[in-house]
């Protein structure tokens, strides 16, 4: 069971700036922390307003204020822990797809041609040359619930007929040339090593585009994979450039080409670890202990 911290207390005076995290009787002072494994940060937000008051209040303004306070608190915590060892630092973890692709390109890593579209005309021009495009979010997938339905921004293939659904100046979105792949590779990086998995999903249309759209009848084949040495080297260089000491990289393999898609700094490793028996939970724990004792 993870320990959920129920209290964050900070005190700043002319002698010191201290932060203490508390859970019940247990407490942890910032000065006693050596290592942080950054996954995600959340502050439980119990608005102490009655429902009636809440509805009357200018809802979005309250939310915006609270969100900005939460971010400030988080930033203060990160600032206080700045000299500690972070497995994924929140600053480096914030880099988005476009930035990653550009840095990768400069390191001579193959990347799919990518556009940010904000006009129907522009998309039409692109589709004339690349009749099939992959549509995906610029940053992360965020499940959105609308009523009882859930929407995930899984990668979707679009063709000319997509234009029919579009107004002239749509909200900016990202498209990439469609790569017909032999298989996908997901590589988790920790302690200077990649743990990779090949995902064969070509055999069924459901998952051809995005393996996260899981098909239970024809499951993907997930097998251990070893990156070719030159790709391994280039990707390590990329991670160094992005100042990431861990992350989960997505690649597409087409013939002898390895297309870099993105790196997720706080990516899931369980989905690579269990099918490949990599024992990544153990490796991460050992790595953190090593850093803690360093």
């Amino acid at each position: 069971m993870p320990d959920v911290i129920t209290n964050i207390m900070a005190e700043l005076n002319d002698q010191q700036f201290s932060i203490t995290l508390k859970k019940g009787q247990k407490s942890l002072a910032a000065r006693d922390i050596n290592v942080i494994w950054y996954r995600r940060f959340q502050i439980k937000d119990n608005l102490n307003l009655s429902l009636e008051e809440f509805e009357k209040s200018t809802d979005s303004e309250i939310r915006r204020f609270r969100t900005s306070e939460k971010i400030a608190l988080f930033r203060s915590l990160v600032y206080r822990l700045e000299d500690k060892f972070w497995l994924s630092h929140p600053d480096t973890a914030a880099v988005n797809k476009i930035m990653q692709l550009d840095i990768a390109r400069k390191l001579e890593i193959i990347v799919p041609k990518t556009w940010i579209i904000s006009s129907k005309e522009q998309l039409k021009e692109v589709l004339k040359i690349y009749p099939k495009l992959a549509l995906k979010p610029i940053k992360d997938i965020r499940p959105i619930s609308m009523g009882k339905k859930f929407f995930n921004q899984y990668t979707t293939i679009i063709e000319m007929d997509f234009l029919d659904h579009l107004n002239d100046e749509p909200f900016p979105f990202l498209v990439q040339e469609y790569i017909s792949k032999d298989y996908e590779v997901r590589s988790f990086f920790i302690d200077d090593e990649f743990y990779s998995m090949a995902i064969f999903s070509q055999d069924n249309d459901q998952t051809t585009v995005d393996f996260r759209r899981y098909d239970y009848k024809y499951p993907n084949r997930n097998v251990p994979f070893k990156l070719p040495v030159d790709i391994d080297q280039k990707l390590k260089k990329l991670l160094r450039r992005l100042k990431l000491n861990t992350g989960s990289i997505d690649l597409l393999v087409s013939g002898d080409k390895y297309y870099f898609l993105e790196v997720n700094p706080v990516g899931q490793f369980g989905m690579v670890s269990s099918p490949c028996n990599y024992h990544l939970h153990k490796k991460i724990a050992q790595f953190l202990i090593k850093q803690d004792n360093a």
């Binding site: 069971m1 090949a198 064969f200 499951p219 084949r221 997930n222 097998v223 251990p224 994979f225 070893k226 990156l227 070719p228 013939g255 269990s274 099918p275 490949c276 028996n277 990599y278 024992h279 939970h281 153990k282």
Partner: protein
């Protein structure tokens, strides 16, 4: 582009038996029979091209090898590739974080030890699954107490086998409604056979009487488990006794309730101290490769095991309740 190599997927592991082999698909949880000749070829197929293999095994003429490979690709067990070195075989190391993963606790109307404290100890050891077996009837108050203790514990999986009685049957539903950790409930000596589901629990009523621990140790293909965890465990350890601790109806701490050897009585011995005793862990290391007959059986890493009831009573003999003969490849009855 022609592909020079055939490889099995890294999580499809061939196992050779006396008369035939199987490929265990550890991802999708199934297996497939293949002839032993093909096993030998598959063992070399990551290092040798198909043409090489054909020459080596004198199969160049008929093209049969290619057809075998093609069939394996079609059924999803492997691929043709030019880069076999990029697709390593699964790492077959077994690792879990807990010192004990499963426990059998026998508790009868005559038992006098403190069951609740046992469950608390198991929780402290991060045990994953606990099975409680009752042969002669369980007082309803005790059953409710067990249920409450489990629902408040962090032990994820809980099973119970108990003797039918009218009061228990009447209360079972409300107990299971409040405790989602029961995976299985088996009610033996029941007036009828029936299976029902209550919340997350499967409840089987059976007319059979399970009146002692001697009912344990059944071997059948029905109990085969094909996945990474149990396969890698079976490769190195005993597929029944590894990381198991048991208490018999008298409160004796044992590897299995059916064993003679006791490592102390639960009233005055802590489970954690028994686990420090190296003698206790000796049987954990008896894998199928050390067991007569099983060592020649193609099912040895997907099969369960039993060390309490064996063919000639020896610790390294084949399980008594197995009717499979790997030397003719048949189940005998």
């Amino acid at each position: 582009m022609t592909k020079d190599y055939f490889i099995l997927h890294g999580n499809c592991i061939p196992v050779k038996g006396a008369t035939r082999s199987i490929i265990c698909d550890l991802q999708l949880g199934k297996y497939k029979y293949i002839p032993n000749e093909l096993y030998d070829i598959l063992n070399l197929s990551r290092e040798h091209s198909i043409t090489d293999l054909e020459e080596k095994f004198d199969l160049s003429e008929d093209g049969s090898l290619f057809h075998y490979f093609e069939a394996l690709v079609k059924s999803g067990y492997g691929i043709f590739t030019n880069t076999p070195e990029l697709f390593p075989v699964l790492d077959l190391e077994f690792a879990t974080y807990s010192e004990v993963t499963n426990a059998i606790i026998d508790y009868n109307s005559t038992s006098t030890y403190n069951l609740i404290s046992v469950i608390k100890q198991l929780e402290g050891l991060v045990c994953e699954a606990v099975q409680i077996r009752n042969f002669d009837g369980l007082n309803i108050d005790i059953l409710e107490k067990i249920s409450t203790t489990f629902s408040e514990s962090s032990i994820p999986i809980f099973e119970i086998i108990l003797k039918h009685d009218i009061i228990v049957e009447g209360r079972l539903e409300s107990i299971l409604e409040n405790n989602s950790r029961f995976r299985y409930v088996i009610v033996h000596s029941s007036p009828v056979d029936k299976s029902i589901e209550i919340k997350n629990s499967k409840v089987h009523f059976t007319k059979k009487s399970i009146d002692s621990s001697s009912h344990c140790g059944q071997i059948s293909s029905f109990f085969f488990t094909v996945n990474i965890e149990s396969f890698t465990e079976a490769l190195a350890y005993n597929s029944c006794l590894n990381k198991k601790i048991s208490i018999d109806t008298n409160g004796e701490i044992k590897n299995c309730p059916s064993f003679e050897k006791s490592f102390g009585i639960i009233n005055n011995t802590k489970l954690v101290d028994v686990l420090r005793n190296l003698e206790f862990k000796k049987v954990w290391k008896i894998n199928k490769d050390q067991i007569s007959t099983c060592k020649d059986c193609e099912f040895r890493y997907i099969c369960t095991d039993c060390r309490a009831y064996t063919k000639n009573g020896g610790l390294f003999d084949k399980p008594q309740k197995c009717s499979y003969n790997p030397y003719i490849g048949e189940w005998e009855n």
